[in-house]
């Protein structure tokens, strides 16, 4: 007789999970599983008990959930090793692992003290924002595979995928921008200091010797700003000129040059004091605006392609021997060995008599598919059950799933097709400024040539769109910040504008409209007794099949649930499980497995999976597992009704059509059994009809559609997990607010337009001085900062008030 082990609310001292049936008690500590206990011992033996004292009481990563027992031997392969190491000289090696599990300061403590567990580690450094750990180690004492395994053992399973192999060193850092701002700020402050005497001096003016000295110092200070800090503006302007597109930076560069050269002339000729202070201030403000707009989310990855999902290497069978090779090197007719839970990297043919493949990754279908010997298995399927051999039919890059990435949608840069609002505005602005300057010069030319040059350069200076150029960066920067607070993370701030123009929304079903883990479950059959529920609960707890987990969650309503020890547990992939619980024989799984007739032949039309159960050979009935829709969907669809077209694209069959009909109005708007390529083509059709499409999806099968849409949004219940390449990563809890987010983006565009109007107003006031050739450096030094600060204040208040009114989280 097995005994009841635990029925208390004890939390694991390592990870904080409730301790269930197989909980372990030791001294005054409780652990939910052996994994957690092992980690605890490892840490306390190495003198790292502080791990549990720093931030959270139970910072550990649950060892129960890391089901996939990854193997790392392939890392020692020379073809892989040298490509992923950052540094190697025979004595020391350095590797940077991405470990998405890093979540608190205890993690930093543990990972930076890893040398106490493994003496071969020389140094380790955590980058919290990027969720990376850089480890320097002695390659003669420890293999890379052992190091990775050690990290996995303490819960920080490194994220190693095919994408790691082609390391393009993308330097996202803002370092050069910071230095440019630093230099511009330094010059701005000091030039202002040397210009103030002139502005403040009384009727006598400043001593001539000082005027000359200050002028020279100002030139010296302004030179690095002109040559280095402002260099990005010239580059963009030049690109614009070459492509024959009027961009904002052309007007900016003209203004900057007019200011600098006129000041240079005035100072050297002794004619005046120049506008060096306004010049440095202008560059400083513009660069700060650029920095503000550049906000990025380091820990999120927006550019994942299939390589991030596929394993780094596979086991290739050569005769009796197996050898691990990088997945990119797989050739046609190679025989590869795939183990339970591993992904099949290339289209191949099954060489075993039977295997179960889970295609949820590719199609969204959650039930594993049975494949027979000789059957073609598509890349992206996950093997479920015993290890199996496959013969490769197509290389990785030409396989079914990866073919998507060869579509032209992935080659063109989708941003180029859309001109931003400030670009459209500057198409009129820059030519207008140049014409006004020319007209003013022509007007003065007959009477006073010096006034003509004066007026021409003054117009360029005053019209230099400082405030104008700050409107969009600050508004969009604020929008990115505010939406980020609402768990809607944009790849870059320009996407706000694309969101504002959306008029069609396309939804994926599985994982997007439905929960990926939760389900609606009902039991149909004889009423189960309390004891039977306890038996079944214990039995399903041992299986890792998604359906078992769902049934388990359904049967376990509170933490005091009774669990029994389970013995003779046998799982038959794709069919079901039989086991002994507390002296009773429990069998569950498909109808045939349990020995039951399918109760109702019309079952196929019902949108549910069934788990049949028998206790001691007596059939009890079945659990009906239906995917659960996320909360707030009906109000979301209510809010977009009439304003936007909504469509459904699902890889699943049409079992749920009737349930979804009220949301999508007509059956025409719902497409089922869509392949990844179908989804991509559907988006193309919508775009050809002139619709601006927002696609919401979650899986690799949506990647093409996400990429092809105007705005691709990938939904995730936990932003640490994998999301396909997209413009936006959104937390699932934000889905009901989608309409509010679109409304907010529209409001942000209004804010930009109003602040354009404000800055144009300031420009007109300044122009009035400029065309009469009476623009003094003082007026310039006053108008420029006032207009910039007005615009910054207005955009800050405007976006935040708009967010508050719409009920979004805003700056406090």
């Amino acid at each position: 007789m097995a005994e009841v082990l635990t029925h208390t609310k004890v939390a694991c001292d390592h990870c904080g999970d409730p301790c269930l049936s197989d909980a372990i008690q030791e001294a005054d500590k409780n652990f939910c599983c052996h994994g957690c206990q092992t980690v605890y011992h490892l840490l306390s033996d190495s003198g790292l008990e502080n791990y549990y004292k720093i931030e959270e009481k139970t910072p550990g990563i649950s060892m129960k959930r890391s089901i996939s027992k990854k193997r790392y031997e392939h890392l020692d392969d020379e073809s892989v090793l040298y490509r992923i190491l950052d540094f190697y000289d025979g004595k020391t090696a350095k590797i940077t692992f991405k470990t998405p599990q890093i979540h608190c300061s205890s993690c930093v403590y543990l990972l930076e003290n890893i040398h106490k567990i493994e003496p071969a580690v020389i140094r380790s450094e955590v980058f919290f924002g990027k969720q990376e750990v850089a480890i320097t180690y002695d390659p003669n004492k420890i293999k890379l595979s052992e190091l990775a395994a050690l990290l996995g053992k303490i819960g920080y399973d490194p994220d190693l995928s095919l994408g790691k192999l082609d390391k393009e060193e993308k330097d996202h850092s803002d370092r050069p921008l910071f230095i440019k701002i630093g230099i511009a700020g330094f010059a701005f402050g000091n030039i202002m200091l040397f210009s103030l005497p002139e502005y403040l001096a009384g009727p006598g003016g400043v001593d001539a010797q000082f005027i000359h000295l200050f002028g020279m110092l100002n030139i010296a200070l302004a030179l690095p700003v002109f040559l280095y800090s402002a260099s990005d503006f010239y580059r963009t302007a030049w690109t614009g000129i070459r492509q024959k597109v009027w961009n904002m930076d052309i007007a900016i560069s003209l203004g900057i040059m007019a200011m600098f050269f006129r000041s240079l002339y005035e100072i050297l000729s002794g004619y005046g004091v120049g506008y060096m202070d306004s010049f440095a201030m202008l560059v400083f403000f513009l660069l700060v605006g650029r920095l503000f707009q550049n906000k990025t989310y380091e820990r999120l990855s927006f550019d994942r392609d299939y390589k991030s999902y596929f394993p780094l290497s596979v086991l290739k069978l050569e005769g009796e021997q197996d050898k691990s090779i990088p997945a990119t090197n797989i050739e046609v007719d190679d025989v590869i060995l795939i183990r339970n839970g591993e992904l099949i990297p290339a289209d191949s043919v099954l060489m075993e008599s039977e295997a179960h493949i889970d295609y949820s990754f590719v199609t969204g279908e959650s039930d594993p598919v049975k494949a027979q010997e000789g059957g073609l298995i598509y890349a992206g399927g996950r093997l479920y059950g015993a290890s199996a051999r496959f013969q490769v039919k197509k290389p990785v890059s030409k396989s079914y799933l990866t073919r998507l990435w060869n579509n032209e949608a992935f080659r063109k840069d989708s941003q180029e097709s859309l001109r931003s609002i400030s670009q459209r505005f500057s198409r009129y602005f820059s030519p207008a400024v140049i014409s006004i300057a020319t007209i003013a010069a022509l007007y003065w030319l007959p009477t006073s040539p010096s006034n003509a040059i004066n007026a021409f350069s003054a117009v360029l200076i005053i019209a230099c769109p400082c405030a104008l150029a700050l409107s969009a960066p600050f508004t969009l920067g604020w929008a990115t910040n505010i939406l980020g607070k609402n768990k809607f993370y944009m790849k870059n701030s320009d996407i706000t504008e694309r969101i504002a123009g959306i008029n069609s929304i396309v939804f994926d079903k599985t994982g997007t409209l439905t929960w990926s883990e939760r389900a609606d479950i009902r039991f149909r059959g004889d009423k189960l007794t309390e004891k039977e529920i306890e038996l079944i609960r214990s039995a399903v707890h041992n299986s890792t099949h998604p359906l078992s987990r769902k049934v388990y969650n359904y049967l376990t309503q509170d933490e005091e649930a009774v669990h029994y020890a389970v013995s003779n547990f046998q799982e038959n992939p794709g069919r079901g499980v039989e086991c002994d619980v507390d002296g009773h024989r429990i069998v569950y799984g498909s109808a045939e497995w349990v020995g039951l007739q399918k109760t109702d032949q019309s079952d196929d039309r019902i949108s549910a999976s069934h788990v049949y159960v028998s206790v001691d050979g007596v059939p009890k009935g079945y659990f009906e597992v239906q995917s659960a829709y996320r909360e707030g969907l009906s109000s979301l669809f209510e809010s977009i009704k009439g304003k936007m077209n909504s469509y459904l694209l699902s890889g699943d069959n049409d079992k749920e059509q009737q349930r979804l009909l009220p949301l999508f109005n007509t059956e025409d708007n719902m497409r089922f059994q869509q392949s990844p390529a179908d989804k991509l083509n559907f988006i193309s059709q919508l775009k050809q009809r002139g619709e601006n499409v927002m696609m919401l999806g979650d899986g690799l099968n949506d990647a093409g559609a996400l990429r092809n849409s105007t705005v691709g949004v990938s939904i995730s219940e936990d932003t640490g997990s994998f999301t396909p390449a997209s413009d936006v990563i959104m937390e699932a809890s934000t889905l009901p607010k989608l309409n509010t987010i679109i409304e907010f983006s529209k409001k942000s565009m209004t804010v930009i337009k109003i602040s354009f109007a404000i800055s144009v107003l300031y420009n007109i006031i300044g122009l009035a001085y400029a065309v009469t050739a009476t623009l003094s450096p003082l007026i310039c030094a006053i108008i420029m900062p006032i207009s910039s600060i007005t615009v910054i204040l207005f955009t800050t208040l405007g976006t935040n008030i708009a967010a508050k009114r719409l009920g979004l989280e805003a700056w406090k």
């Binding site: 005054d28 008990e49 403590y109 930076e112 980058f127 330094f186 200091l193």
Partner: protein, 62 residues
């Protein structure tokens, strides 16, 4: 008024040294990760050892 030259030179040298210090700080990567160092500084090896000893004593007492 000659003292002005001295003051200007002093102020410029001071300001320039700040800019150089700033550029050095950026280049050496001090602004790349703004969170981890704030946590790291709180870990103290010695304190860790002594608290370990305390822990062992505690266990013995029990």
């Amino acid at each position: 008024m000659e003292v002005m030259y001295l003051l200007i030179a002093a102020s410029l040298i001071l300001a320039t040294s700040f800019v150089i210090a700033f550029i050095w700080a950026i280049r050496s990567g001090q602004y790349d990760d703004k969170y981890t160092p704030s946590v790291r500084i709180l870990f103290d090896d010695n304190e860790n050892d002594s608290s370990d000893d305390d822990q062992k004593k505690d266990n013995n007492n029990k």
